[in-house]
Amino acid sequence: MTTPQIEIQIIASLVAIACAIPGVFLVLRKMAMISDAISHAILPGIVVGFLITQSLNSPFLIILAALTGLLTVVLVELINKTKLVKEDAAIGLVFPALFSIGVIIISRNVSNIHIDTDAVLMGELAFAPFNRLVISGVDIGPQNAWVMAVILLINLTFTVVFFKELKLSTFDKGLAASLGFAPAFLNYVLMGTVSVTTVGAFDAVGAILVVALMIAPASAAYLLTDELKKMIWISVLIGVFAAISGYWLARFLDASISGSMATMCGIIFLAVFIVSPQRGLLSILIRKRRQKIEFAQMTLVIHLFNHSGNNDDIEERRIDHLNKHLAWDKPFSDKLLHLSLKSNIIEINNDVIEITAKGLQFVRAAENLVSSKYHPEFETLRKEFIIFTD
């Protein structure tokens, strides 16, 4: 690997970590689309800031653009308060307006602004290493890396210092407010860090990847754990992995780096979505199937128990009866019988199913379980309300 390659991967990883941390809170607060809105809406701030400072990395530009991001949040809340449209429509009106203004300013000042609209969307990560930060004649690395490192430090400090407050206001806003934690103020600070992160990352990786890196790793982590701290760690890891693997995918395809990173985010999320041990699609499907069979097995043995020992009931115990009476189709009932035979709760003689001693044991245990819910108060209730008791 050459030095620029390593530097690109370092910058990408810094962006990924800086995005993943606020992203977790956005996902948990159901505000993910705000990141999309901010990432579009900061454009006019960046353009105006660039017209003034002529540099994409000046702190003034970052602050101006971050303020535009906050303006988005304020405008959305303002429109919400009028109750003229629903919240999602408010978001959908504000950011296209600001983004359009940005695009128009760019196209009106083509000669003054060296940002083209492609760079807005994709960033120019490949060129990031060429923009060096030189302090008193010493080259200390790419400017982008330092900007992202500072932003990462801000995010980290904010999250560590206000961890308790963030956690509480995320999960129980009402309680946080009543305990005096000022969740509304905290929300604005969080939105501020989202804006600053978006602006800082924007130059390197473009508007769209910021959204992907904020929301996809955090959502994947949300499917893997129930603990906030673990969720942050996992989304940081996923983000870094997506960034680095995305870089190599881009090199392999000779295509947009940030696009490839977003694609990797999607692939990782898809993988987690399918195979996550507790909440993945596969485990949900398997669980549903197992529950269906288990329930059918219970129904079967209780059915047999109700009709056992009496020769008149022999019709009820025939194999083909399952299809007619219990409305199980043939493949399902065959599979059910096979599994039940295997677990030794039934036996079959001449197409008649009999419950085994083990099956009986199971039914009795089930009965005990139901009657163990016996409660004196329940008994009086039963006597009061249910007339036909024996």
Binding site: L26, V27, K30, M31, A32, M33, S35, D36, H40, T82, L84, V85, K86, D88, A89, I91, G92, L93, P96, A97, F99, S100, I101, V103, I104, S107, R108, V110, T117, D118, L121, M122, I208, L209, V211, A212, M214, I215, A216, A218, S219, Y222, L223, A250, L253, D254, A255, S256, S258, G259, S260, A262, T263, C265, G266, F269, F273, R279, L281, I284
Partner: protein, 374 residues
């Protein structure tokens, strides 16, 4: 002046007519279907679908090698549908909420679209130039055959909306009720979603994938402010859509090198702002006036009450009091006094003394009897 020329061209110049017609068709369709997107609280789904169309466009081109409008539309619609499907699957099967599902699908599809776009740039010859116009839209690239295709799709969609008017209305306002009445809500959901995807797809060439969702939301959000009737909202929204499309294209054709998308979107947002401010009943101005009127009528009753108390305090209710007493009463200003005078509740003598008329006394008595009394 140049903008004026655009409108002259609209009636005389063939190319301008084509473009104007195209944007009008687009505005009409997104205006009509936007209403349903807004009613179903799916404004941001449009955003996700529009962004997600990009890889569909790129793949359609990559596979067929042509820029035929219908093929590009098909690719975009397929990708948009896939995105809708994935978003639905995430929301249905996991605890991830719709906002995160939208953000993931939107950014990932769009990112993949960018990969394909840069990939195409490197492997193909110059023939592919123009796919980038799908990012921000360029009305100038509209050809007559494109407009015909758009018009066909729009016509089909409008026919469906008219035929399923009752069903769509019920389904958009009360999905559960529609279900209990035995309507096939799955089909209706599919139908509306498909039409919304189509509305977005036909706008991609003119407005672009990034901003198309705004053209879906804005006319409907504006129209919603003016009336409460669905038919009224749909017609008005269609008109606003057409207006945004045509005026936006006009402005962008005047300013050189201006992408059409942002201009059309800004025009539509201006219409939204005007509606927010000036719409009767719901608008900001109407509410302000309503508040002011309320305050004024409260002040009038308060003043009348004060006058009545003053009169009653005197042995003779018809005693002529001096004007200065009025000025000290709560609710007094020139307008409230004028209202009382014009309604014939108070009369003035020549030396500017006053007393309540019989009508005034009667009204004040009733008024204080109806909860006005302390």
């Amino acid at each position: 002046m140049e903008f004026y020329n655009f409108f002259i061209d609209l009636f005389t110049d063939y190319t301008t007519q084509t473009i104007g017609l195209g944007t009008a068709v687009l505005g009409l369709m997104s205006g009509v279907l936007g209403v349903y997107a807004i009613l179903r609280k799916q404004s941001l789904l449009g955003d996700a679908v529009a962004h997600s169309a990009l890889p569909g466009i790129a793949l359609a081109f990559l596979i067929t090698g042509t820029k035929n409008t219908l093929i590009i539309f098909a690719g975009a619609a397929f990708a948009g549908w896939l995105a809708t499907f994935w978003i639905g699957a995430i929301i249905k099967n996991t605890r991830i909420k719709s906002d995160a599902a939208l953000a993931i699908v939107l950014s990932v599809f769009f990112g993949f679209g960018l990969v394909l776009l840069t990939f195409i740039q490197r492997i193909e010859n110059a023939n592919q130039a123009g796919l980038e116009t799908y990012l921000f839209g360029q009305a100038a690239t509209l050809l007559q055959q494109d407009v015909v295709t758009m018009a066909m799709i729009a016509l089909f969609s409008l026919i469906v909306v008219v035929l399923l008017w009752k069903e769509f209305k019920l389904f958009s306002f009360d999905e559960q009720y529609a279900k209990t009445l035995g309507f096939n809500t799955r089909f209706l959901d599919f139908a509306i979603n498909t039409l919304i995807v189509l509305a977005i797809v036909i706008g991609l060439q003119t407005v672009g994938v990034i901003l198309m969702s705004a053209l879906l939301i804005a006319p409907a959000a504006a129209a919603r402010q003016w009336t409460n009737r669905l038919s009224g909202v749909v017609v008005l929204s269609a008109l606003f859509g057409i207006l945004s499309g045509v005026v936006g294209t006009g402005i962008s054709s005047v300013g050189n090198n201006l992408s059409t998308g942002p201009v059309i979107v800004l025009v539509s947002i201006v219409i939204v702002l005007i509606s927010f401010i000036f719409a009767p009943k719901r608008g900001w101005l109407a509410k302000l006036i309503g508040k002011q009127k309320n305050r004024q009528s409260l002040a009038v009753s308060k003043l009348l009450e004060g006058l009545y108390e003053t009169c009653r305090a005197h042995q003779n209710v018809k005693h002529q009091h001096s004007l200065n007493i009025i000025k000290a009463l709560p609710g007094y200003n020139k307008k409230t006094l004028l209202v009382l005078k014009n309604d014939g509740l108070i009369e003035f003598t020549t030396d500017m003394e006053w007393c309540l008329t019989d009508k005034g006394l009667f009204k004040a008595k009733n008024h204080s009897g109806n909860g006005g009394a302390k």
